[in-house]
Amino acid sequence: MADFEEIYAQYSPQIYRVCMGYINDKEQAKDLVQETFISVWKNLSTFRNESKISTWIFRIATNNCLRALEKSKRVMTTELPFHLPDQPHEETQEEKLAFLYNCIAELEETDRIIISLVLEDLPQAEIAAIVGLSAVNTRVKIHRVKEKLAIKFKAHGQFE
């Protein structure tokens, strides 16, 4: 069994990105990372390897994200304007990333989770196990979410 510090070092960046994808707010994402690793710490000794450790951790993280709705946490969707300036303007990496987060924030809750896991390069079978859908449903969902995201990018002139 891997120890907590190793697990934290390995998974915290991924968990942070997934939480950012869901909540689109740096401070809330950090809180969610913290809550996730508190659960990991509390339950690590009872983790029975019934699923992969990564599946277990992503389940905790995404369930925490879903529970955020009970704490009246609102998903930020307007941190940056969608309309880019008329003047030619070289976007910074941060602006591009903020734009991506805004596009994701416009999706439904479970779609936000699915696309975040896709962008983390998780296998479809693992995404299915995290979300709780069948393999076929997951494949269809992933396809649809990618399409939705592409439409949003196109609508804002980000696709050539």
């Binding site: 934290y8 710490w41 369930n63 529970r67 196990a129 979300v131 709780g132 696709f159 050539e160």
Partner: protein, 194 residues
């Protein structure tokens, strides 16, 4: 930016260096206390303590009137209801193992439905038993003199009225609005996974 790989590359540029280090996180998790669980444990402990106190009083103070005994029993039952409800609710959280988003949403929906039931039924039952128990319990002491009766029952009735007509409706209204909103949102998410 024209394909998923570009988006993936952009996704990975998110800065994660502001996250706590492993050591810092270890300190944070070790200091963490689960407030929700603590609150439930406190309620259970206080209810058990009150019930024990009530039982001890029954043995120490030999009442002559049936109303006192009946009052004591009703208060003990009300404490029992509180202990039972909170223990069951705590057990559900402790038993919640590794589960998918779909199962978790179902769990949350059930939890919120239980809470609605608690506010609509269990709380009414518990408060009803304890209010009636208190009014009966006080009768023996209050019946010493007319003045004692008037003073004791004026205070007890005012307290009961405030509890039923002010405190409970306010708390119920606030909680029920919050719970309805949460349940609506949970149902929406649940539909996304159908």
């Amino acid at each position: 930016m024209d394909n998923l790989n570009d988006i993936k590359a952009l996704w990975l540029t998110a800065k994660t260096d502001s996250l706590p280090s492993s050591d810092e996180m270890l300190r944070i998790v070790k200091k963490f206390r689960n407030n929700r669980l603590r609150k439930k444990l406190t309620i259970i402990f206080v209810a058990l303590f009150c019930a024990a106190l009530e039982v001890a009083t029954m043995f120490v103070y030999k009442s002559t009137m049936i109303t006192t005994r009946l009052g004591e029993v009703l208060i003990i039952i009300a404490c029992g209801v509180l202990v039972f409800t909170n223990t069951r609710s705590m057990k559900r959280f402790i038993d919640l193992k590794d589960c998918s988003n779909k199962d978790f949403i179902e769990f949350l929906e059930q939890t919120r439905r239980n809470q609605v039931y608690y506010y609509k039924k269990t709380q009414v039952l518990g408060m009803g038993l304890s209010s009636l128990g208190l009014l009966l319990y006080l009768y023996e002491t209050a019946s010493i003199s007319t003045a004692a009766f008037i003073i004791t029952y004026t205070i007890a009735i005012i307290w009961t009225l405030v509890l039923w007509l002010v405190i409970r409706p306010r708390s119920f209204k606030k909680q029920s609005r919050k719970l309805d909103e949460t349940l609506r949102k949970l149902k929406e998410i649940s539909k996304q996974l159908d």
